[in-house]
């Protein structure tokens, strides 16, 4: 598989894709994001929730996107489908899909893409289904919107077929049930079925699809994602804050911090030799047993995520970074640099940092 990597944004704020010309790898990207910028107005002026993101997802690739809450993962996902909640606005960049810039489409032209070519699975299965509608109606509704020529019987057949594909037994009976009659795991399967029922989905965005589920169900759902992805050769953007999920599922990982991508690498590379201090912090914070640590001590990254309205002038991780240098890190935003083919990091000091050693029992 070819590995796709973003090019560093030339300007430090990463505005517009004009500065970023050459794009490494990705002979056939399913989706290509260039210089994406999303802003929300606030009392202190506009706040950049996403600040110059370059990212591409190859066909048939599972790209993991990790980061803390509020770092912009969900906004990135939503901007692909043009579902940024107002008053937020995409203020720059391009999202190329199928030769078209999605950001240039109006809502009428966006609608045929949503659910048919690009689909999203939301975090909360308990609330992503309409409590007032039977699940059969909710699945066939998608077909009604995208395949108006099918008869109702054909739609029902497709819906129950999809439910079977996502591992729901007695599919035809389930179609007549309401969401409240189903468990969280089943609901998430229904949501996945809804996302994939059109059969032509080329990019599936999964926004923390397993966060709300318990661990056994989580494993089943991840397995389901991997299987469906392989069967359909879809590209998948898997958003999560759970590194375990990434290790199990993703091919490549992008790490986001405060609206920017700070590191991107193939999954094994990232876990074996993370470059960015933030990524290292995340890996060290994974809960583990023993090895010289008192039981009560859970390692964590010092400090907390900076307010997006009040980012440090240089590297946004400056305040929390154990390796920061006043003269360099505080002055300028580091660019995303290639450390080896396919691996990129946004850190001034990546060359100087000591090699990363994870206690043996943590390796996923």
């Amino acid at each position: 598989m070819k590995h796709v990597a973003p090019i560093p944004a030339e300007s430090q704020t990463g505005t517009s894709g004009s500065g970023t010309t050459a794009f490494h790898g990705a002979a056939e990207p399913a989706l290509e994001i260039r210089g994406l910028q999303v802003r929300f107005p606030s009392d202190q002026g506009p706040v950049s929730v996403i600040d110059g993101i370059d990212l591409s997802i190859a066909k048939g690739e599972i790209l993991g996107l990790v980061g803390e809450s509020g770092c912009g993962k969900t906004m990135l996902a939503r901007s692909i489908l043009r579902l940024i909640p107002p008053p937020g606005r995409v203020t720059g960049g391009k999202i190329m899909f199928d030769g078209v810039d999605l950001l240039g489409l109006n809502h009428e032209r966006m609608r045929p893409i949503r659910g048919d070519k690009i689909a999203i699975v939301l975090q909360e299965p308990m609330t992503s289904l309409n409590p007032a509608l039977r699940i059969g109606d909710q699945i066939t509704e998608v077909l009604k919107a995208h395949r108006p020529l099918l008869s109702q019987a054909e739609r029902n057949a497709l819906a129950s077929d999809l439910l079977e594909q996502v591992g729901i037994q007695m599919a035809s009976q389930r179609l007549t049930q309401y969401p409240h009659e189903l468990s969280g795991g089943i609901r998430q399967r229904v949501v996945i079925a809804m996302a994939l029922v059109c059969g032509d989905v080329r990019l599936l965005i999964a926004d923390e699809p397993t966060t709300a589920l318990d661990v056994t169900i989580q494993a089943q759902i991840l397995e389901l994602f991997t299987r469906l992805q392989a069967e359909r050769r879809m590209a998948v953007l898997l958003i999560t804050h759970d590194l375990g999920v990434i290790a199990q599922t993703a091919h490549r990982v992008a790490v986001m911090y405060a609206g920017r991508i700070v590191e991107i690498a193939e999954v094994n590379q990232l876990f074996d030799s993370p470059r960015h201090p933030y990524t290292r912090g995340l890996l060290l914070s994974l809960p583990r047993r023993g090895v010289g640590l008192p039981k009560s001590q859970l390692p964590a990254i010092a400090g907390s995520v900076p307010k997006l309205s009040n980012l440090p002038s240089g590297c946004s991780f400056y305040d929390r970074c154990p390796h920061h240098l006043e003269d360099r890190c505080q002055v300028s935003v580091p660019a995303l640099e290639e450390t080896r083919p396919g691996s990129w990091v946004r850190c001034h000091r990546w060359r100087e940092l000591p090699a990363f050693e994870l206690p043996a029992d943590v390796k996923p």
């Binding site: 579902l83 949503r114 048919d116 689909a119 999203i120 289904l129 509608l133 998608v142 919107a145 949501v191």
Partner: protein, 284 residues
């Protein structure tokens, strides 16, 4: 009594006796007002000068008034008027309220305009405004409908608006949008059905209120012009005879109370049934 009351109220809510009792009463009222004219020869306007102010008897179930008109017949036809006015006003309120509420839940500009107009209608005490409207446009059945509609529609608009704002950002609406469902369908299928509960409750109280306002306006001579019977103008006419013929006032008064009570029971019952928070309390 102190001990038994909570149990009684829990039983009331569990079985939703309020909703059942209220619906039963309203149904009885409706059925009675429709069937009675078919069974008996009832003429609310026929004057029999020889039988004025008679007490209830086998011939005149509820006695006669000062013109010798059959009070029972007038009650039955009065029910037609009351229910017709209330139904028309509620239906109009529902249609306009849902449309305007949805629009204001969607657009800030529309919300500002509709909201300010609603506010200015809500500034006046309801009944006083109704009197003003009817004084301005004259007493007629259609005008009563219009007045009740104008007074009640802001509440429905607000209820619908609140639900639309609440549900338009709900996950399942976002999910539906994300699979390519169009705006109109999003509202009609995903947002509005979830507003049914609060709107139904609001409308059932509105219906009761419409009956009261109609009676009040007729009582003041601003509703249906005589000689047409209406519960309100019957009470008004009966004032002079409260000592000599109290049934004249008692009969329409009881009907108004029963109709309003039944609708309030329905409203409360619906609210209990549809409000999940109350349900949780009961299940504890």
């Amino acid at each position: 009594m102190i001990i038994s009351m909570p149990f009684l109220s829990i039983w009331f809510r569990r079985t939703n006796a309020m909703l059942i009792t209220g619906s039963f009463m309203l149904l009885l009222l409706l059925a009675g007002s429709i069937i009675a004219p078919l069974l008996f020869a009832l003429d609310p306007l026929a004057i029999d000068a020889t039988r004025k102010l008679e007490a209830p008897s086998a011939t005149y179930l509820l006695g006669t008034d000062e013109f010798g008109r059959d009070t029972f017949a007038r009650i039955v036809y009065g029910a037609h008027v009351s229910l017709r006015v209330a139904f028309a006003a509620t239906a109009l309120t529902a249609v306009v309220g849902i449309i305007l509420g949805t629009v204001s839940g969607q657009s800030r500009l529309a919300d500002a305009i509709i909201g300010r107009i609603s506010d200015s209608l809500l500034v006046f005490p309801g009944f006083v405004l109704a009197i003003m409207i009817l004084a301005a446009i004259g007493p007629a059945e259609i005008n009563v409908v219009l007045a009740v509609f104008l007074l009640y529609v802001p509440r429905v608009i607000r209820t619908v608006r609140a639900s639309v704002i609440e549900f338009i950002t709900a996950d399942f609406v976002q999910a539906a949008r994300s699979v390519g469902i169009g705006n109109f369908r999003l509202l009609a299928v995903h947002v509005l059905p979830n507003a049914t509960g609060p709107v139904m409750v609001q409308l059932s109280f509105g219906f009761a209120w419409a009956i009261l306002v109609e009676a009040g306006l007729s009582f003041l001579g601003l509703g249906l012009p005589p000689p047409s019977p209406s519960w309100g103008n019957m009470i008004s006419d009966a004032r002079e005879f409260i000592r000599t013929a109290p049934w004249l006032m008692f009969a329409p008064g009881a009907m108004i109370s029963l109709a309003v009570l039944s609708l309030n029971l329905i409203g409360d019952g619906l609210r209990d049934m549809l409000d999940p928070r109350l349900q949780n309390k009961i299940n504890l």
